[in-house]
């Protein structure tokens, strides 16, 4: 269990691209860098804290409206530029605290901002761009849906500082009327409830769990290792369907998502049955 620090996005963006200056004109909370990755020139994106941000509820690593629309813009730029050529990989480096919880955000429709970013990432995937989410830190709820969860392939560090979940522990405990301790206890036997990345991996959604010894200060060898994994994931994505079916067909999913698989089979069978009648 670890607190959100908001430094890993910047660390890994620099490490993987060898650059530190993001594309200009954007809010300081969204960093976009184009850099070589294997034989490709990839676009890397990440959301980072910006204490000077315009919106008070989106200054500490939350994904707010400006962040979401900036991501959408930068992803759509790639789709547009590559419309008649080889589709570049898009790498979302994910370490996001949460979505922005604010009245301004609700008034101006942050739900649409999140949808717009997810639309952009999903449209890139459907257009044939290999979209990879590299989860280096926190990936919570609406923030992850906005930034990363539409990727063809999800990679995460096998590290206690990595956490993927629908809600922060204290709030989840309160709403489900449990103590934090009993929530942690339940997570040991009920994998989808767990805040531990190894339990998340059991759900079959991840393409790969990467072991990194120093996730906040990686060595050159570690950086090279992660780059190799990204290249392999890109290669795999390019040679696979553009949908998300790999998330329910992995060997882990065959075990943990039995109910999903049965539900889909049943619907398919009944759908085919009534088509003959209708």
């Amino acid at each position: 269990m670890s607190e959100y620090k908001g430094i890993r996005g910047t660390v890994w963006l620099k490490a993987l691209t060898g650059q530190s200056a993001p594309l200009g004109g954007d809010p300081a909370s969204v960093l976009t860098i184009d850099a070589p990755l294997g034989e490709d020139n990839a676009r890397f994106l990440c959301v980072v804290p910006n204490p000077e941000g315009r919106f008070p509820c989106a200054r500490h690593g939350e994904v707010g409206m400006e962040e979401a629309y900036t991501l959408a813009t930068r992803v759509r730029e790639v789709i547009h530029e590559d419309r008649d050529r080889l589709k570049r990989p898009i790498v979302a480096i994910v370490d996001v605290k949460s979505q922005a919880y604010g009245r301004r955000e609700e008034t101006a429709g942050i739900f649409l901002a999140g949808a717009a970013a997810a639309d952009a990432y999903g449209s890139a995937r459907l257009a044939g761009h290999p979209v990879i989410a590299l989860i280096v830190g926190h990936a919570f709820s609406g923030a992850f849906l906005t930034h990363g969860y539409q990727a063809n392939r999800l990679l995460a560090f096998d590290d206690d500082g990595v956490m993927i979940h629908a809600m922060h522990k204290a709030a989840a405990a309160r709403i489900t009327r449990r103590t934090v301790e009993s929530l942690e206890e339940l997570g040991k036997t009920i994998a989808p409830l767990s805040y531990n990345i190894r339990d998340y991996a059991k759900l079959g959604l991840l393409y790969k769990l990467l072991h990194v010894e120093h996730p906040e200060n990686p060595s050159p060898a570690e950086i090279e290792g992660v780059q190799k994994e990204l290249i392999a994931a890109i290669h795999d994505a390019r040679n696979s369907p553009v949908d998300l079916r790999s998330r329910t067909t992995s060997s882990e999913a065959l075990d943990m998502r039995k109910a999903s698989i049965q539900t889909r089979r049943l619907l398919e069978a009944q759908w085919a049955e009534i088509r003959h009648e209708q």
Partner: protein
């Protein structure tokens, strides 16, 4: 004269909000054409609830029905707000995603099949946490593919409303139909108050909540495409109208430059009166006006 007629109409209307998910889905179809798929007798229950002391439901709070609307093949997926707040669990989420995918597969084969989602949901079901979140991502992916072929129509009738991750799914829909009793937003007032403080959002201020999240406001600022009365017939007509309209030239969630510039033009040093945004945003938009 015409007011008189509308009053009579209103008195004789059938409430849509009072219907449960199954009844809501059925009433949208051409009479006698609907069939429920993976219904309660198939007992596709959540495998995660009983082990946490929560009684599961035989349809997991999600009703899938196929039939004809305006004579066209259509699938309707309705979330039951009365079961676990309409929350998305593994099974309910998969029902929704798989129904959209099956409609998509038919469209790809040349069998036109429309889709309507009735969303009454607080988002992820916390007892299924990461599987609920994952299924919302998959539902969003399914909407993105299907809406290339046919309009994906989202109805938020109330009174649960549509919140959390599922508000993003609503944001991807081709058309959003709401009533005045419905709400649409990412974060509910309670969670904002708990996270950012009562000064940011006073969750006991009912008027403020409706002024921000309510159907009338969402329609007036161009974030919903129709505002209808709590009347089943009006709901049917709205669905038929949007099916006839077909896929929009550009989906709202793809209008990035427009909305980015609108956010950039806002003054974040203060809170806004929601009515200001009606005036500022309505100009550029051309939403469907309900007759």
């Amino acid at each position: 004269m015409s007011e008189q007629r509308n009053d009579t109409k209103f008195i004789n209307r059938q409430s849509f909000i009072e219907l449960n998910a199954r009844e809501r889905a059925e009433v949208l179809f051409d009479a006698g054409t609907s069939r429920e798929l993976a219904g309660p007798f198939d007992r596709m229950e959540s495998p995660w609830l009983a082990m946490q002391g929560v009684t599961p439901q035989a349809d997991d709070g999600c009703v899938v029905m196929k039939g004809k609307i305006s004579g066209q093949s259509t699938v309707v997926i309705a979330l039951e707000g009365a079961f676990q707040g309409g929350s998305m669990g593994e099974v309910s989420g998969e029902k929704l995603a798989a129904a959209l995918d099956l409609a998509c597969a038919d469209n790809e084969k040349g069998i036109r099949t429309n889709a309507v989602m009735l969303l009454e949901t607080g988002g992820v079901r916390l007892q299924e946490a990461n599987l609920g979140l994952a299924s919302i991502a998959e539902i969003m992916a399914s909407i993105l593919v299907l809406r290339r072929h046919v309009p994906v129509i989202c109805i938020i009738a109330g009174t649960v409303g549509c919140f959390g991750g599922m508000s993003l799914a609503a944001g991807l829909a081709s058309y959003v139909v709401m009533t005045r009793e419905a709400r649409l937003g990412m974060n509910g007032p309670e969670v904002i108050e708990q996270t950012s403080g009562v000064d940011e959002f006073d969750s006991s201020d009912r008027a403020l909540i409706w002024a921000i999240h309510g159907g009338e406001q969402r329609f007036a600022m161009g974030l919903a495409d129709a505002l209808v009365e709590d009347d089943a017939q009006q709901m049917v007509e709205a669905v038929q109208r949007f099916i006839a309209k077909g896929v929009p030239a550009v989906h709202r969630s793809s209008e990035v430059a427009l909305y980015r510039s609108r956010i950039a033009a806002l003054d974040p040093s203060r809170q806004w009166d929601p009515k200001e945004l009606r005036a500022a945003w309505k100009a550029g938009a051309a939403p469907e006006v309900n007759q």
